[in-house]
């Protein structure tokens, strides 16, 4: 392929990537150093509502000739990041070691970071192990059973995440079917949504249930490429089932395990659906949810785009950091090969 043809092929997708990925990324990064400010003045204002007329001093934004609020974009350096990370509160918390964890959990960013990292790291091994077990199990089924089993197994992955989360919430909420049933069985009050740790467990469980089918499908495909001669040879050498798995199958699937891990870490670090679906924000928040919370306008139409951008940038950096060990391993293997 000559150079010209190469660029004709790559050009359009390169253009799209710059326009739709690189551009917005740079935009977010720039906005994380800015704030949009209006100027306010205090005026005497007469207003009438069904509850009567009042005249009072009101703080209102100054508008231009077109009647629109005049906003100026202020370059604020690291202010948005500083507000987000809340250094003074962190120092306060650390000055009091016995109480530090509780106090850190009151700062939204650190609270969100704690949950997000736990969520990603706890679900990862569960997804890999359960996905692999499922693939091994389905692989031993007879041909007639395989198709239907694979279809049923995939269902959790097909369901829209928010819908799935809502369904689980309705099962487990105060008077939901499962809770009511368990209460009758155990003769005990159960309130799954009344404390943080139960909600956290449900969110972890839900994500594992939702993503295992993805790992399963990938691993199942991988299993079809394991050379049967190798397994037979291992059997003749006296390898047990566990040894075959440990020394033949897993090494063969390793590239796929790394692939699933990468995708899962990236996905789970952006956890958001669960927080919304379970109405969990009173107990647990994630970094992605924090960004969203800054972005949506409050009752008076204010929003914090600067802090939302800073939070988004830190989330991206977090994803890169959490992927480094995996990427480094892959890179080393590539070099050895």
């Amino acid at each position: 392929m000559n150079n010209r043809t190469f660029w004709w092929f790559v050009g359009p997708s390169l253009f799209m990537m710059v326009l739709f990925i690189a551009g917005p990324l740079v935009g977010v990064a720039v906005q994380s150093f800015q704030q949009q400010r209006a100027s306010f003045e205090t005026v005497e204002r007469e207003s009438c509502t069904p509850f009567g007329c009042t005249t009072e001093e009101a703080t209102v934004p100054i508008t231009g000739d077109d009647g629109r609020i005049i906003t100026r974009t202020v370059w604020v350096g690291w202010d948005n990041y500083a507000a987000l990370l809340n250094g003074p509160a962190v120092r306060n918390a650390l000055a009091n070691p016995g109480d530090a964890l509780r106090q850190l959990a009151q700062i939204p960013f650190w609270d969100a970071l704690r949950f997000t990292v736990t969520f990603a790291l706890v679900t990862l091994p569960l997804v890999i192990v359960l996905g692999l077990l499922l693939a091994l199990a389905v692989n031993t089924l007879t041909e007639q059973l395989k198709g239907p089993t694979i279809f049923v197994t995939l269902l959790p992955f097909i369901i829209t995440p928010v819908i799935g989360a809502l369904a689980i919430r309705w099962l487990f909420i105060g008077d939901g079917i499962l809770t009511a049933g368990l209460e009758r069985l155990l003769q005990q009050e159960i309130a799954m949504f009344a404390q943080g740790w139960t909600i956290e467990l449900m969110m972890l469980g839900y994500r594992v249930w939702h993503v295992v089918p993805f790992a399963f499908v990938i691993f199942y495909a991988g299993l079809q490429t394991v050379a049967s001669e190798r397994l037979e040879a291992a059997g003749i050498d006296g390898a047990t089932r566990w040894q075959k798995l440990r020394h033949v199958i897993v090494p063969h699937l390793m590239p796929l395990i790394v692939f699933v891990s990468l995708i899962h870490l990236m996905d789970s670090y952006r956890v958001f659906d669960e927080i919304v679906g379970f109405s969990a924000s009173g107990y647990r928040i994630s970094l992605q949810w924090l960004t969203y919370d800054f972005l949506i306008p409050d009752e008076s139409g204010n929003r914090s785009i600067g802090r939302a951008s800073a939070s988004a940038v830190l989330t991206m950096i977090g994803i890169v950091v959490i992927l480094i060990p995996l990427l480094r391993n892959t890179w080393k293997e590539q070099r050895q090969a």
Partner: protein, 405 residues
Amino acid sequence: MKRWIIGLAAAFALGVPSTAMAQCSINNETPLTMLSNSFEAWKIMSDAMTSCGNFEGTLDADYRLKVNDALAANPAVFSMVGVSNSTLTPLVADGLVRPLNDLVEQYGADLLPSQLITVDGDIVAISMMVNAQHLMYRADILDVLGLDVPETYPEVLEVAAEIQDSGLVDYPLVGTFGAGWNLGEEFVNMYLGYDTPMFTADNRPNVNNEDGVAALEMLKALGEYMDPEYLSFDSTAAQQKMQQSQAAMTNLWATRAAAMDNAEESEVVGMVEFAAAPAAFAGGAPATTLWWDGISIAANISDEEAEAAFKVLLEGIKYDVLSQHPDAAIWLSNPAIESDVAVGAQASAAGGAPAYPSSNLIGIMHNAAGEFIPAYLNGETSAEEALAAMEDAYLTAAQENGLIN
């Protein structure tokens, strides 16, 4: 191409079943749209407007998140928007809704003066209902136990304790305590109930004080009598708990009152009565805020479209329409519409409950309350820590916007 679009639109219009009868007395030919909140009263108005033709209403419980951007577009995405005390403030400040003085003069002879929302003489919205959270209680249960209707929150706690001991319902209380906007509203109601300003004269926060602590402690004490999952309860959840006889008292929106007697979904028809919102302390005003709902017309549309919109608006809120549903809301109408469910809100207003403040400041504090009070109710922080965190969050956001230096 154009014919294709019209065909599709027509098919769509025909495909959407409309429960509205042909109530409209005009034939509207200008395509019009409206974005509004989503509850029964809005559906009634939206249906009536639909019967005028060429009208499409979007009912959305999250309308407040979309309304600013929708009207800032030119031309605006909607010709009309539903507004309330607080959502109107930023729209007026940003010049996104048009003064209606001329249209009111020309077409609005039937409107009451109290329906005209004005700012410095400009009519910026037409209101048609008022709303407030007020006490709804199971009269049968209070009767059986020989209890009086509580007038203050300390009395609510006493009554709740008695109901709890009686075991007549699962939980004595239910409330709109969901983390976020709902809980923020509860805090605003309770704090203003102590009649202390929330901000200093120079827009600094003023909630980390005795009254702030008292308000939080009262919210927590109320929570003790609720379903332990109360931090995820919104208005609909609270309404359902009452309807299913799982709670005996609530401080809930007037627009939800009629649902208590809706035989299709309620098990407590005829058993729920209404009273003023309880006061924070004996002798105080009812600890609730008064809201109005209305409709504004976008600034960024043509004058012809605005005129058509105003005529359709009047059709949607006319007496003939609203009087068919007297209990769906507390309607503002000429002639007046009497309703059995209005007593709670009327008593609250008569008791001196304040209107929800319409300012740029309140939204920030409302948000901060909804975000930091859950940790206090969970037992993770003290009241002072939660209030300090709210003040910090307020200062950060107010500085960002340029409200304070």
